[in-house]
């Protein structure tokens, strides 16, 4: 513990250096704007701004990009509450009760509860990260190929089980992503796979063009500017403070959201999105007044908003301790560090303590900055939403092109982005969630390599995954989740997804 406190002191001495604090502030500010603007989520935002960090050192780069990530979770709530437009996917659930509160004249209170809940969730996440990550990194050194395979398989199954779209659709998207991840040279044999004699495809398809195409351009193609005009409710500053009753109604949902979000964040998958959906379902179930959900229930704002921020921080645990990207966003962050010559994994804490602890400490600072930034400046952020969408989206397309081109100075990457944009449009049309595709792309090389290494180690015996304690535990959890999913699927019983969709449909009618 003493070592941790000493290391944290080192971290604060790094994070509070004026230049680093400035980049944390810049990241939080840009992240809030990314969260506020419809059509540009955290993944596209981070990917587009990745080239901006090329001139910074590794610590400043990761501090700024992480600020954009958790800043966008804060900002996403603003459009959800004031316009009923989720700035990004994890704010979808906040729309329901947040906007209902705004229509009742409680927009300020909803924003305040969302900001405070986000701060508590984020700060709790950082606290646990501080304590858990270093010992976990020590354990992670014992991870071999079978353990990595089992963990990634669990992540995919968990994502499929928890995803808001159907199980089959999620698995199809994950398969497509895994296949895309296999384009290029096979690291183990040197074979070119599906590269069609294009030298640029030899290194495979990068995550940035895919992410920016699916989430940035795809969203723009699906949003004609005529549909983007919405009424904006402007809260007054004096209405920002919730009443005592609203505080007491939000206390338990914030606590539950914090714990739930952090735990889900650790498991690979689109953690921040799943956590907010799940938190809403939990709050509705435990509430003494479930009929108030959809009509402005405070718990419907406090729970999901807290959970998505706690999950964003939780996702950094496997990233920093194991070097595993549990989401597309953390994969981009790994890419950013690798560009600066820092490899992420169990050795990070010992080899680059200034980066590791500086980053952890910057999250404490960043969460306070966001709380101070979001409440007083909410009306400023709302002003950004008044820019006509017709003028906004050409600018976003330009930034998409810059962001993708600058990573490798390759126009092939920009063409891939355009193709992915078209794919993203089609996927939205047919109700597919593109997030599992990107996750599949991210984990594909690690999963394939660890699976093949495991089979070579065991001379082709699949029992290797059940003969080592850590991989056995992870595989048993995967089998349990698959059994639960199969039970609902085969017997055609309504699982949690269906029940939630029915609940939402019911609310929409009332």
């Amino acid at each position: 513990m003493e070592t941790t406190l000493h290391s944290l002191y080192l971290g604060f001495s790094v994070a509070l250096q004026p230049a680093n604090a400035w980049y944390a502030f810049l990241g939080c500010l840009v992240g809030t704007l990314v969260g506020v603007l419809p059509g540009i989520g955290p993944l596209a935002g981070i990917s587009i701004l990745l080239p901006v960090t090329f001139g910074l050192n590794a610590t400043q780069a990761i501090i700024m990009l992480a600020g954009i990530y958790y800043g966008s979770q804060y900002g996403g709530s603003t459009t959800s509450i004031l316009m009923r437009i989720p700035g990004e996917a994890s704010s979808v659930m906040t729309c329901i009760d947040g906007y209902a509160m705004a229509k009742k004249g409680r927009a300020g209170a909803a924003l305040c509860i969302a900001a405070v809940g986000s701060w508590i969730g984020g700060t709790f996440g950082v606290l646990v990260l501080t304590i858990v990550a270093p010992p976990l990194a020590t354990i992670a050194i014992r991870f071999g190929p079978p353990e990595y395979t089992a963990l990634l398989v669990l992540g995919l199954i968990f994502l499929a089980y928890m995803s808001s779209s159907s199980l089959i659709r999620t698995l199809l998207m994950a398969c497509l992503g895994l296949l895309l991840g296999m384009i290029g040279i096979d690291n183990m044999t040197g074979h070119f796979r599906y590269s069609f004699d294009l030298a640029e495809l030899g290194d495979g398809i990068g995550i940035v063009p895919v992410a920016v195409g699916l989430f940035g351009l795809g969203e723009i193609l699906s949003t004609p500017s005529a549909d983007a005009v919405k009424d904006i409710i402007s809260p007054r500053l004096r209405d920002l403070l919730p009443t005592r009753k609203e505080w007491s109604e939000s206390a338990l949902p914030i606590t539950r959201g914090t714990l739930l979000g952090f735990v889900i964040g650790i498991i690979p998958g689109s953690a921040h999105v799943i956590s907010s959906f799940l938190s809403y379902a939990v709050e509705r179930r435990v509430s003494k007044h479930p009929e108030q959900f959809g009509k402005g229930a405070v718990a419907g704002v406090a729970g999901p908003e807290t959970a998505n921020n706690a999950a964003s921080t939780g996702a950094f645990v496997p990233l920093l301790a194991l070097g595993i990207p549990t989401s597309p966003i953390t994969a981009v962050l790994i890419g950013a560090l690798m560009i600066h010559g820092v490899s992420v994994g169990p050795t990070l804490v010992n080899e680059h303590p200034d980066v590791f602890w500086g980053f952890v400490a910057s999250m404490y600072v960043g969460n306070i900055m966001l709380l101070l930034l979001n409440l007083p400046l909410v009306s400023v952020f709302v002003t950004v939403l008044r820019i006509p969408y017709a003028y906004l989206y050409p600018m976003i397309i330009m930034f998409c092109i810059i962001g993708v081109y600058e990573v490798n100075n390759s126009v092939v990457d920009v063409w891939i982005m355009l193709i992915m944009g078209v794919l993203g449009y089609a996927l939205r049309k047919f109700d597919f969630d593109p997030a599992p595709l990107v996750l599949g792309l991210v984990i594909s090389p690690i999963l394939e390599q660890s699976l093949r290494q495991s089979l070579i180690m065991s001379n082709g015996n699949y029992f290797i995954f059940f003969s080592r304690p850590i991989s056995l535990g992870l595989m048993l959890v995967s089998i349990g989740l698959l059994a639960l999913a199969a039970y609902s699927f085969v017997l055609q019983r309504a699982d949690w997804r269906t029940k939630l969709a029915e609940a939402e449909a019911g609310e929409a009618e009332t």
Binding site: L172, C175, H191, L217, L221, P394, W415, G421, K429, F432
Partner: protein, 148 residues
């Protein structure tokens, strides 16, 4: 039989899986004890065909294909066409010229904005971005024949 969205989606993924199989013909599958470079892609292609079939077989729960709204398709097609033209010209004309032309085209052709405000907006946004990246952030952008 009514054609439903999941029939189309299922057929697409079955077709895609089969295409991956066809393209993987020359990749060695290897053995369980020494998997080759075609091992994982073929497993995934098989899974994709299987899940595609399940999706198509359970299509009765999905909406009718004819009821899907394509009202935004024209907007999407025009944005794709203009962006594709911009990407094609990007390395020849450079960052500034290409993006000014792209934004101007998006604003005037798709959004029907007046020419002068659209031109001023395009030049101002692209110019500011160029200065920000090249001079403030020291990140070079693709130069055209005029040097910017």
């Amino acid at each position: 039989m009514t054609l439903r969205a999941d029939h189309v989606e299922g057929a697409f993924f079955v077709g895609f899986g089969l295409l991956v199989f066809a393209l993987s013909g020359d990749l060695p599958t290897g053995s369980l004890s020494l998997p080759g470079s075609g091992f994982m892609p073929k497993i995934l292609a098989a899974l994709m065909v299987f899940f595609g079939l399940v999706l198509a077989l359970r299509a009765s729960e999905s909406k009718e294909f004819a009821t899907l709204s394509w009202s935004d398709a024209k907007h999407a097609a025009m944005v794709i066409a203009i962006t594709a033209a911009a990407i094609g010209l990007f390395e020849r004309l450079g960052f500034v010229t290409t993006n000014v032309l792209m934004m101007f085209a998006l604003l005037t052709i798709i959004e029907r904005r007046r020419l002068l405000p659209a031109a001023i907006y395009s030049v101002a946004v692209v110019g500011t971005t160029y200065i920000l990246f090249v001079y403030v952030l020291k990140t070079p952008l693709e130069a055209g024949p005029l040097g910017f």
